[in-house]
Amino acid sequence: MAQNNNAEISRPVKRSEVSKIRWTWEEMKNNKTAYFMLAPFFLLFIIFTILPVVLSMLLSFTDFNMLQMPPHWMGMSNFTRLFLGDDIFLLACQNTLIFAAVTGPVSYLLSLLIAWFINELPPKIRAVVTLIFYAPSISGQVYLIWKTLFSSDSYGWVNATMIDLGVISEPILWFENADYVMPLCIVVALWTSLGTAFLSFIAGFQTIDRSMYEAAAVDGIKNRWQELWYITLPTMRPQLMFGAVLAITNSFGFGAVVDALCGFPSVDYAAHTIMHHLNDYGGQRYEIGYASAIAVLLFIIMFSSNVIIKKALSKVGE
């Protein structure tokens, strides 16, 4: 028997022989140093990211109001109200989708194209140009320059110029006029969007092995477009994914800039996004339960669009 045992132990254990949980547990034990080193971040991540998301999901079924404990269980009523009883939410969804549909892809493609273009420049000039394009997103609240440009005051730059030219006689209330609010915000969003994604693209271009292009040329690549599609993009797929996730999160979560430019809420809810709706209920009306329901929906929308993008990106270079 003893011999038998020994023989069993000395034989490598097969993956299929033990349950999944047991296998994981064994693996964890083997790599316990790694887990130990991972623990500090992991704990923080759970406490400050996972837990709030879970909590928020739970709260979305209650009427929690921030001050009174305990909240009452409301079942699905927050969600039914959201879809059936809240006109402004539907408006916010519409605005968000328009906003995301325009700024997301456009800013993504813009980042990619500009990064590609900059990549072709000599290193020194490249550094300078990179800084120029990246500057708007590192300088924090620099978008407030638009507030000066499009100030409603008759001394605002655009108003003053247009009055000078005789186009208008009374100042236009740019950020307080339902007709202009949305287009202006989209322009500002695009202007500030060349951020981290753009940098990672540039980095991605840098990592590509030059010899691959030579090999490709031998293999019969005809033009730069083919080079881009068959070599450049597939090689930098991780960066593309990273950029896409950022673009989506940004375009859905674009709220603070609108607040700073148009005030809260924007006139006639013209630039009211889901994010604003969330702030409205969470911050102003203290209806955290309802706000959580909105947040959960926003989470689902973002998550699913990420999945779709991931699928789409896997097609790159095929």
């Binding site: 001050l67 009174q68 209330l173 006639d268 203290y286």
Partner: protein
């Protein structure tokens, strides 16, 4: 600007007549047209049209000095009462004070803070000529006094002779109340000891001692400290004493005393009209100008005199160090010692705590402010005075101090200090970002020498002055006025945004303006060059002048292209120039110490300016280390609370200055802790902290300054306690706290609180003075003399309960530019009708009116007699529906929309800036914040603007109303409060009139006139440092205030009225249609919110009467 004499005299007669008419305290009933406090056209013209002193005195170049002193008799005075007959003086026991010296001042008269006293006097024929005016006054501290400087307008024969005489400042003297003098007998010879500076366990001390005539005098000054060793601001008290004042300039442009030309004849009058504060006047004398009392020689002459008298450097004289943080007297309560840890060489300094070691920084920089120090020398002879200071604020410039002396041969016979020689007015301190140590001099490189005698007590006054820069700054100020005039003239032709492609023909229409541009360009360029020459460097400071000069030059010479194109640049440059003048007029400097040293001491008489490198770095490292152990929460805490004493947590979300003032008030003698034995932990938090803290159960007991919207938001969610009508949340026992008086007794060294009044008290303890705690009813004050206006309380009430006590109250008032309106010949509008009638005149001149539309919509509804909510008197249904769909409200809304669409009121504008340039001579906004902003930001128009109540509306029934919306910040008690009685005691102490006034006045004392505090307590307001006419205007508006109660869901109202307004103004939609379109949305939201809180709701179309008492 100059008007014929006849017209000017007429103006004055008229203005005097109107002033007398409006003099009394007119209290207007809510619905009647007020006896307005706004200035009349004539008054405004009087302000604008007077000459300057320079012009005045130029007219009397050849006039002779007067002959003989003319004494004005207090028996021939009207508008003032004898001190012995004045109620205020009797209340304050003025005449019984030692320093009043009643024996010698029996005939003095009392001039109240609203008085206008007129002396009548006769002048013989040969007495015609130029005179100084000397006033002997006593600064009283009656109930009507506050911390402001005494300010008077001087009239001669009912006319202000020149504009500077319109704001004479009579200084008060402030001393610390913690100096004690001990006199002991001794056999020692007469001698002077060096002053000793010691940091002891309980504070930082200065000991000043000397022996004279067999007696040793020892004065101990103390700066006390908190439990962590941080110095605490010594309390400054007014030293009421007799002072001599010669009429002089308070702006710092004119040195020396004003000369007045007095004509012969009988029954001339001299009038002092009160602007601020009350005072007692013993005598007024006209002194011929050739009297030698004020003749100040040049330094050359003084040196020659030293030589003639054989004065030598004081051999063997001691080097006498005066630490600047112990002034013997200061001119202003805002000149106080402070801490500076930027150099290890500051004495005393420790990296552990903040010890007061310097004086100055931001509060000792305005012309006329001074600090005075006493000293004695040990040997006769010549001395230099050196100073260790830091002047790092004005790059490329120097600041000046006027050095004045009294004692011995210096100063006037009655102790008023004078400059020993002309150059002493200009003691000069150059810019350096490091600390410096230098002998006083005027920049010529030669240190001033002073002759001091042994055994005489001297006092040195260091007074902020413009010194040798005054003339240059004055020239820039004149330039600014001229350029501003030009700017307005062009603006009247071209409008805000001139078309640069159009030929306006400036050279034909206004050649004088173009010429003026060139003249001012040259003037500014000259000033700049002289500045560079004087200061020896070109800093950014003078470059400003150069840039503006260049622009003016271009605009003047190339008028075809450059005038229209550069109007907006010119506008911003005007602002820059105004700021430039402001900066140049302040003379900020931090002073560590003064050293009086025999004039041959050389380096020995200078303190080391900067420590050596290693000391410095050691100090920095230690400071960094100690910063981890500093308990900022405990700043100013003077006693560690006993373990068993009562404690409450109080939070406030203001600035650090504010919280330190509260700390001081709480800990002061007779402060809150002293009266009640309750220790207060005061925490300065950021605005959003309250919500999460309440949520997590770590909230405070009391929160100060919570906005009324949040009060109601928290209240409906049970997060704050009601302080009246609170049966729901409190037990009967607890509820009694708010309806009984409590008294504090000390029994066996412990504080005991009891409801037994002192007269019935039989226990062994002693009653603590002023410890009576009021009931809620008493906090509100008597019904006929309430502490709070109704509007202030309305907004804190919900369902019969009151949540908190009002602390601050802000409301909109109307600010107007007197000079602009006077020039246009327009009265200040009192109603919207008048305002609209004025509008075409303004618009022809390309001017406009600034009103915020959101507040306009609100107050217009209430002015027209509407209400925001339906059923205001139904306790169940108040706030259940919005009343914006009523005829009155719709009419008001439509009216406001038309102001912006038809009358082109600007929707968006920079109010302070446009008010300053005069483009917006009328703006409406929160009185305290706009006042505070204008005081610091637009000093060049100081005295040219005033504020008054809002324009009013006539209602359908013919009544008149000028309602303004009150915004309230309240002190609240939070749910979970651990000690309800102590918290309530604190709340009612904190909001009481005395404490509110003390707080407001300390703010002004500490931060300056731009820190006016808008207390909600009506009685506190009376003691704050507004001028009499400002107070009157504020009180008038307070009579006519309303507030909008924040019922659940009210946040939605402004949102939708804003949408409707913008639709009407942007797209020309019909205002009424736009608003009515949103009514349902608003009501739905309110319905939903009321349901959430279980309040009674009304279905659409339902009236309270329809609901048959049953459930809804």
């Amino acid at each position: 600007m100059k008007k014929p004499l006849f017209q000017r005299v007429m103006c004055f007669i008229l203005s005097v007549a109107t002033l007398l008419g409006a003099g009394g305290f007119t209290v207007a009933a809510g619905d009647l047209k007020p006896d307005t406090t706004a200035a009349t056209l004539d008054e405004m013209k009087a302000v604008v049209g007077t000459t300057t002193y320079a012009e005045y005195i130029a007219g009397y170049k050849d006039a002779k000095p007067g002959k003989g002193v003319i004494q004005l008799s207090n028996d021939r005075v009207s508008g003032a009462v004898k001190v012995t007959e004045s109620e205020q003086c009797k209340d304050a026991n003025i005449t019984e004070r030692e320093d009043y010296d009643f024996e010698n001042h029996q005939n003095a008269v009392y001039l109240s803070a609203t008085s206008k006293a007129t002396w009548t006097f006769d002048v013989a024929d040969d007495e015609i000529g130029l005179y100084y005016i000397k006033v002997v006054y006593y600064n009283c501290d009656t109930r009507d006094s506050s911390i402001s400087t005494i300010q008077r307008k001087l009239y001669l024969d009912d006319k202000i002779p020149f504009s500077e005489a319109g704001s004479l400042q009579f200084q008060k003297y402030w001393v610390t109340n913690n100096a004690e003098t001990v006199v002991t007998d001794t056999d020692e010879e007469d001698k002077v000891f060096d002053p000793r500076y010691e940091t002891r366990a309980d504070g930082y001390y200065k000991v000043y001692s000397y022996v004279k005539d067999g007696k040793k005098y020892e004065t101990t000054y103390k700066i006390s400290q908190d439990i962590n060793g941080n110095s605490m601001a010594p309390e400054l008290v007014q030293s009421s004493a007799w002072h001599t004042y010669y009429c002089q300039d308070s702006t710092g442009y004119e040195h020396g005393y004003f000369m007045f030309h007095i004509l012969n004849g009988n029954s001339h009058t001299l009038t002092l009209e009160a602007e601020r504060e009350d005072m007692i006047v013993e005598s007024i004398e006209l002194i011929p100008v050739d009297t030698s009392v004020v003749d100040i020689p040049s330094y050359e002459d003084v040196k020659a005199e030293y030589e003639a008298n054989g004065y030598k450097p004081a051999e063997g004289g001691n080097i006498y160090v005066i630490e600047a943080e112990f002034p013997d007297a200061v001119s202003d309560s805002s000149v106080y010692a402070t801490n500076d840890n930027t150099s290890a060489a500051n004495f005393p300094s420790t990296s552990k705590a903040q010890l007061y070691n310097v004086i100055g920084e931001n509060s000792y920089n305005t012309v006329g402010q001074w600090a005075a120090y006493k000293f004695r020398v040990s040997k006769d002879g010549l001395y230099n005075i050196s100073m260790r200071y830091k002047q790092s604020a004005l790059q490329g410039m120097y600041v000046c101090r006027a050095v004045k002396l009294s004692g011995g041969k210096y100063g006037l016979s009655d102790g008023t200090p004078t400059a020993p020689f002309q150059e002493a007015y200009n003691a000069r301190f150059d810019y350096n970002k490091e600390w410096q140590s230098n002998y006083l001099s005027d920049g010529s490189g030669e240190a001033f020498q002073f002759y001091f005698e042994e055994g005489v007590e001297y006092t040195i006054y260091l007074e902020c002055s413009l010194g040798s820069l005054k003339e240059l700054i004055q020239r820039v100020e004149v330039s600014l006025d001229k350029i501003n005039e030009c700017y307005l003239k062009i603006l009247q032709l071209t409008g805000n945004d001139p078309d640069e492609y159009r030929d306006y023909k400036f050279d034909e229409i206004m050649p004088d303006v173009l010429y003026e541009f060139l003249v001012q360009a040259e003037n500014l360029e000259n000033v700049k060059n002289e500045f560079v020459e004087l200061c020896g460097t070109t800093g950014s400071h003078v470059t400003t002048l150069h840039t503006i000069a260049l622009l003016l030059d271009r605009m003047g010479s190339n008028y075809g292209d450059d005038v229209a194109a550069n109007m907006s640049t010119l506008k911003s440059y005007l602002g820059t120039l105004g700021t430039w003048i402001n900066n140049s007029k302040t003379s900020p400097m931090v002073v560590d110490s003064l050293t009086v040293a025999p004039s041959d001491s050389g380096k020995a008489g200078l303190k080391r300016a900067t420590p050596n490198f290693f000391v410095s770095i050691g100090f920095e490292i230690a400071s960094f280390f100690w910063s981890f152990f500093t308990e900022y929460d405990q700043m100013g805490l003077t006693r560690v609370p006993d373990a068993d004493s009562k404690k409450i947590d109080v939070w406030l979300a203001t600035g650090r200055d504010q919280s330190q003032i509260w700390r001081g008030l709480i800990d002061a003698k007779d402060g809150f802790t002293d009266r009640t034995g309750v220790a207060v932990t005061l925490k300065l938090v950021t605005g959003g902290t309250l919500l999460p803290s309440v949520l997590s159960g770590k909230g405070p007991d009391v929160y100060m300054g919570l906005g009324s919207t949040d009060v109601i938001n928290y209240a409906i969610r049970d997060a704050v306690y009601a302080v009246s009508g609170n049966e729901k949340s409190f037990t009967e026992e607890q509820n009694k706290i708010f309806s009984s008086n409590y008294y504090t007794y000390i029994e066996d060294g412990k504080y005991v609180t009891s409801t037994v009044a002192p007269e019935n008290y039989t226990g062994s303890g002693t009653y603590v003075e002023n410890s009576k705690t009021l009931t809620f009813e008493e906090v509100l004050g008597a019904e006929d003399d309430p502490n709070y206006v109704k509007a202030a309380l309305d907004t804190l009430q919900l369902q019969g309960m009151t949540f908190g006590i009002p602390q601050t109250m802000s409301f909109a008032m109307m600010f107007y530019r007197m000079d602009v309106l006077a020039e246009l010949g327009q009265e200040v509008p009192e109603s919207w009708g008048e305002l609209l009638a004025l509008l075409p005149v303004l618009q022809t001149n390309n001017m406009s009116i600034g009103v915020n539309y959101i507040s306009a919509i609100d107050f217009m509804i209430y002015q027209k007699g509407g209400n925001m909510w339906k059923y205001p008197d139904d306790p169940d249904y108040q706030g259940a529906k919005i009343d914006l769909d009523s005829d009155v409200a719709l009419e008001a809304f439509d009216y406001v929309c038309r102001l912006y669409s038809d009358y082109s009121f600007p929707v968006s504008y920079d109010a302070a800036n446009r008010f300053r340039t005069g483009e917006m001579p009328i703006i409406i906004g929160d009185y305290a914040s706009i006042y505070n902003q204008l005081v610091v930001y637009a000093t060049e128009i100081a005295g040219l603007w005033e504020f008054t109540s809002l324009p009013g509306s006539f209602r359908e029934d013919g009544s008149f109303n000028y309602n303004s919306l009150a915004g309230i910040g309240a002190t609240v008690m939070l749910n979970g409060c651990k000690d309800i009685l102590s918290s309530w005691q604190f709340m009612q102490w904190e909001t009481s009139a005395d404490i509110q006034a003390a707080y407001g006045n300390k703010m002004v004392a500490l931060i300056g006139p731009s820190a006016k505090y808008e207390s909600a307590n009506v009685k506190a307001l009376r003691d704050l440092s507004w001028t009499a006419s400002e107070k009157l205007a504020i009180e008038e508006q307070m009579e006519c205030l309303y507030s909008i109660v924040n019922y659940p869901g009210s946040y939605i109202i402004n949102r939708y009225t804003k949408f409707a307004f913008l639709a009407a103004v942007n797209d020309g939609a019909d205002a009424v249609d736009a608003l009515t379109g949103y009514i349902d949305d608003i009501n739905t939201e309110i319905y939903r919110k009321r349901q959430e809180f279980g309040m009674k709701v009304l279905e659409p179309g339902e009236e309270p009467g329809d609901v048959a008492g049953g459930d809804t």
